[in-house]
Amino acid sequence: MSTPDPIIKLRGIRNQFGRQVVHDDLDLDVYRGEILGVVGGSGTGKSVLLRTITGLQTPAAGSVTVLGTDVLHADGKTRSDIEQRWGVMFQDGALFSSLTVRENVEVPMRAIPGLDPAIRRMLADLKISMVGLPYLAGDKYPSELSGGMRKRAGLARALALDPDMLFLDEPTAGLDPIGAADFDLLIRGLSRSLGLTVFLVTHDLDTLHATCDRIAVLAERRVLVTGTMTDMLDVDHPWVHEYFHGPRARAAASETGAHREGRDE
C-alpha cells in the first residue's frame, strides 16, 4: 500500500483562530492511489486540515508539500498548475447557483486552452453520467436538485479535469443510508478506475469501512494515529477506542463483514 513517496506531505502544521489552537505540530502523509479517511471529534479541525492542503487556509507554521512542490511558497503559475491536478467537493456540492449542472462542470474546463466548446459540453455530459446522474440533470439548476444529486454534481465538477487528487468534505453527510452506500461505491469505483488519490473527511463509519484504505485520526491537535481499520481496533486511546468500538462501529463492521462474505460466496 504505502509507496515511499507521499503525494501530499504535511509537516509541523499549526493552525489557530485567535487563541484557539486547532492543530499543533501536525504531520501527515498521503500516498498515491490510496483513499485516506480523516476522522475526529467535532472541532478537531478535519475540515480545517482539508482547507489547509487546498490553500483556503494558510497555516501559522509548517509546510504543505503537494506533488513535491511546497505550495505555501510556490509562485502563482506553479500553484495554478497544481490546482488543476486536484478537485474539491464541498459538503453541499457548492455548485454555482446561477449556472446549470452542465455549465458548473464546464467551469474548470474553460481553463484548458483550445478546448472546443462542443467537446467541452460533451465531456461535461460524460462526467455527469460518470457520477450516476441522469442525462437531463445537466440542464437543471442546483436548486432543482435533491441534496444527494447536488453532491454528485459537485463530484462531477471536482472530476472535470481528471485530477490526481480528490478532496471530499463529508461526502455522505445528509444522505439516506442507501444514497450514502451508493456514494461510497461510486467513490471507491471511480478512485480505482481513474487512479485517484482521495482525501476524505467523514463522520460516517460505514464510509470508512466501505471505502478507505487507511484512516487518520485527528485528536489532541495532531494526527494521533494512522493505519488500516484493523489497526484502529487495537489503538489504546479513549476517544479512538470509543469511536471504533461503539455500538455504531460494531454495526458498521458487521454489515461490511457480511457484505464481504456475501461477495466471496
Binding site: S97, M109, I112, P113, G114, L115, D116, I119, M122, L123, D125, L126, K127, I128, S129, M130, Y135, L136, D139, S143, L159, L161, D162, G189, L190, R192, S193, L194, G195
Partner: protein, 393 residues
Amino acid sequence: MGRIDLGLQAVSGKQVDLGRQGGAHFAISAGAAPEVLVLSGQLTIHTVTEARAAFDELSGRRITALDLGALERLDTAGAWALLSLQQEFRATDRDLALTGATEAIASLLKTVDGAMPKPETAETRPLTLTGVLDMTGRRVMGGVGFLRDLTAYFGIFLHRLARILRHPGEFRFTALVHHCEAVGLNAVPIVALMSFLIGVVLAFQGAVQLRQFGAEVFVVDLLAVSILRELGVLLTSIIVAGRTASAYTAAIGSMKMREEIDAMRTLGLDPAINLFVPRILALLLMLPILTLIANLAGLFGGGLMAWIDLGISPEMFRIRLVEGTDISHVFAGLVKAPFFALIIGVVGCHAGMQVKSNAESLGRKTSTAVVTAIFMVIVADAIFSIFFARMGI
C-alpha cells in the same frame, strides 16, 4: 485542408504530431498492418480537440484497430474520444478494436464506456396559437390569483386584529414597539432629508417658471399643494416600501426557509398573530407620522429656498401658507398614508411566506416585494387622485 493532409500522411506511415497544447504531445502513426494505427503520446483533455478532428478523418477509412500500447497517458476526455470513434464505427457495422491497452487504461476505458452519455432531449412543445393563448391565460390567472392571495392576507390581518381586540393577552406588544422603532424612528432621518431636498427642488424650479409672470409668491401655494397632497405621502411610502417591505420579506422569508414558521405552527403559535399583525400594525401607526414629518421637512426646505432665492421672508411664507392653503390638502395627503401602509405591509408579509427553501428564492421574493409594493402604492395614489377630483376635495 490541413487536417485531411494529416490524415493521409498518418496512413502513409509518416508520424504526425497533432497536439502541442500545453506541452502535451499526441501522435497517430501507421502500424505493422495497414488497418492498424498506433497512437502515442498523451491523449488528454489538452489534446482531445485536435485528436477528435483527426479521428473525424479516420472514421471513413478502412481501419480495424487502434493500438494503444504506446500511449503515455490517457484521461477520461481521451477515453471518451476513442469510444465515440468506436461507436461511430459500430453505427456503420464495422468494428474498431482498441488493442494493447495497459491495465490502467483498460480499466479507465471500461469505466468511461459504462458511462457514455446517451443524449435525451427534454420534451419541448412547439409554439402554437393555442400555446400562446394558454400561456397568456395562465399569466392572467396567475395575476388574478396573486391579487386574491393579497386580499386573503389582508383578510387574515383584519381577522387576527379583531381577535386580539377581544383577547389582548395574545398580542405581542414588545414586538409592535420593536417594529415601530425599526419602521418609524429609524426611517426619520432619510425621510426628512429626502423631503427637505424635494422641497428645495420644487421651490427652485417653481421660482424659475413663476418669475416669468412676476408671480413668485405663488411658489408657496405650489409647494403647499404638491407636498401636502401628493409628494409628501407618496415619496415617504416609496422609501418605506423600499426599506420595510424588503425587510419584512427577508425576515419572514428566512424564517420560512429555516422552517421556523412550521415550528411555530407545531407549537400552536399563529404566525399571523405573531409575525404579521405587529409588523403591519407598526406600519399603520408609523407611516402617517412619517408623512407628517416629510410634509414639515418639505415645507421647511421649500421655505428656505424661497427665502434665499426669492426673498420671501419666513413670516411672509407662514402667512401665505396659512391663508392660501386649505386644511383639506393636509387631510387629502394624510388620509392616504394608512392605505399605503396596509399595501406595503401585506405585500411584504405575503412575499415572505412565498419563499421556498432555497436562498435564491429569498432574494427573488425580496426584490419582487419591493417592486410590487411601490407599483401598488402608485396605482392606489392614482385611484385616490381620481376619487378626490370627482368628489371635489
